[in-house]
């Protein structure tokens, strides 16, 4: 799977596709809140990991797609797991790393089973009461859209920088990776902002 299609909506007719976007966001929110409690019990997190895999199955896909959503984070996950295992024991390691796994996999499942437009419309609707406090709900939706757009964009840039690094045999230099990635990300952010303005969005 290419970085640019990570988490991108995949049409389907599964129960998860049919579920209302608001309900899916609510489940995700509850899961996030519950993780504060569940991360104390490694076995509860392990059950949630299995549950997230099962949810991918219910959506019509397998564990492979589940793993593909997590693969870009594998270094972070490995680091978290090792540090916690060494400092707090294996139970804590499973609980904390597993919590990240569950939340990332489930967040990706929401975007995989919901068209972005439907998701944004829902967020704009949910944010409508905030207009009383001067917050523009459309702008909240725009933040979400740009956020969703930026994940695969930055992942794609990282892939390009990595390829350039390999081509120039600078594979061990962290600076040779981070500096061009940050510079290119800022340039892309500039271009994205200009494109939004040119398209009459957020004037």
């Amino acid at each position: 799977m290419r970085a640019s299609s990570l988490g991108l909506f995949r049409p389907g007719h599964s129960p998860l596709h049919r579920l209302r976007p608001g309900t899916k966001l609510l489940i995700l929110l509850v899961l996030g809140a519950a993780s504060v409690v569940t991360q104390h019990w490694w076995w509860a997190v392990a059950i949630l990991i299995l549950g997230s895999m099962l949810a991918y199955r219910v959506a019509g896909w397998g564990v492979r797609l589940w793993w593909l959503q997590l693969r870009p984070l594998w270094m972070l996950l490995a680091f978290t797991a090792v540090v916690h295992a060494l400092t707090s024991g294996w139970q804590r390691s499973v609980a904390d790393t597993g919590t990240i796994v569950v939340l990332v996999a489930c967040a990706a499942l929401v975007t995989l089973t919901t068209p972005t437009t439907a998701l944004v419309d829902t967020v704009v609707r949910l944010a409508a009461p905030l207009s009383r406090f001067g917050l523009d709900p459309e702008r909240v939706g725009l933040f979400l859209m740009v956020g969703i757009r930026c994940v695969p964009l930055v992942a794609g840039l990282a892939q390009q920088v990595r390829e350039a690094q390999i081509a120039r045999r600078a594979t061990t230099s962290t600076r040779a990776f981070v500096v061009p990635l940050v510079v290119r990300s800022l340039r892309e952010a500039d271009a994205l902002g200009e494109a939004l303005v040119a398209r009459g969005i957020d004037d």
Partner: protein, 232 residues
């Protein structure tokens, strides 16, 4: 459409090394097909961005049908669409049809009306088979068509295009050229593909921030070639 530039200059940066990219440009544009050519860094892109109010001039003013770009930017962007060199920079939504529809989010049109417009454009640009596909997995030519469709969905009166074929191969560049030729809108096109300018009404040649030639395509291109020869 009537575009007027009155003694327009533009300078980037106000530190110790400001860079003036447009110098005292005065023009009136009323033609339907206007080409813009010149070296990289000659001021073409800055000139185009001034027309869509993406930037405002440091001095002088730009009027589009009487609207001042410094004051009426929002209304102006409704009338003038902008196509960038790199379509990837312009694509915002994940799928082809969502990206085309994106420009109508605050238009007040119903879902059915938006869908109908999107369908029309998908068919017109041969993208209907890709409607639900990830926009970033299209070919370069298809992405530029998508970017163009995304601009046209708002039905602008004019289109400003900043080197839309520079990143494309010859086949795709020719295809974009044909699409541009068929547009009903006023087109202001900056390009290095000089053959795209055949049939244009007027071509401006920029050099070091000034318009050094302003003529029909053949004469303007000849003048541009003389300029390049003179610099060798």
């Amino acid at each position: 459409m009537r575009i007027e530039l009155e003694r327009v200059s533009h300078t980037f940066g106000d530190g110790p090394t400001p860079r003036t990219v447009l110098r005292d440009v005065t023009l009136t544009l009323t033609e339907r097909r206007i080409g813009v050519i010149g070296h990289n860094g000659s001021g073409k892109s800055t000139f185009l961005r001034l027309l869509n109010a993406l930037i405002v001039p440091t001095s002088g003013r730009v009027l589009v049908d009487g609207l001042d770009t410094a004051r009426d930017a929002r209304e102006l962007r409704r009338r003038i669409g902008f196509l960038f060199t790199d379509p990837d920079a312009q694509i915002i939504m994940p799928t082809v049809s969502e990206d085309i529809a994106f420009g109508l989010r605050r238009s007040g049109l119903s879902h059915e009306q938006v869908d109908a417009r999107v369908r029309d454009l998908l068919v017109r640009f041969g993208l209907d088979a890709h409607a639900g596909h990830p926009a970033h997995l299209l070919s370069g030519g298809q992405k530029q068509l998508l970017a163009l469709a995304a601009v046209l969905i708002t039905e602008p009166l004019a289109l400003v295009m900043d080197e839309p074929t520079t990143l494309l191969d010859l086949r795709n560049a020719a295809m974009i050229g044909r699409v541009v030729a068929d547009l009903d809108q006023t087109v202001i096109l900056a390009t290095h593909h000089l053959d795209l300018l055949a049939g244009f009404d007027r071509v401006l040649v920029f050099h070091e921030g000034r318009v050094v030639a302003d003529a029909a395509p053949a004469a303007a291109i000849a003048s541009y070639r003389d300029l390049m020869d003179g610099e060798r």
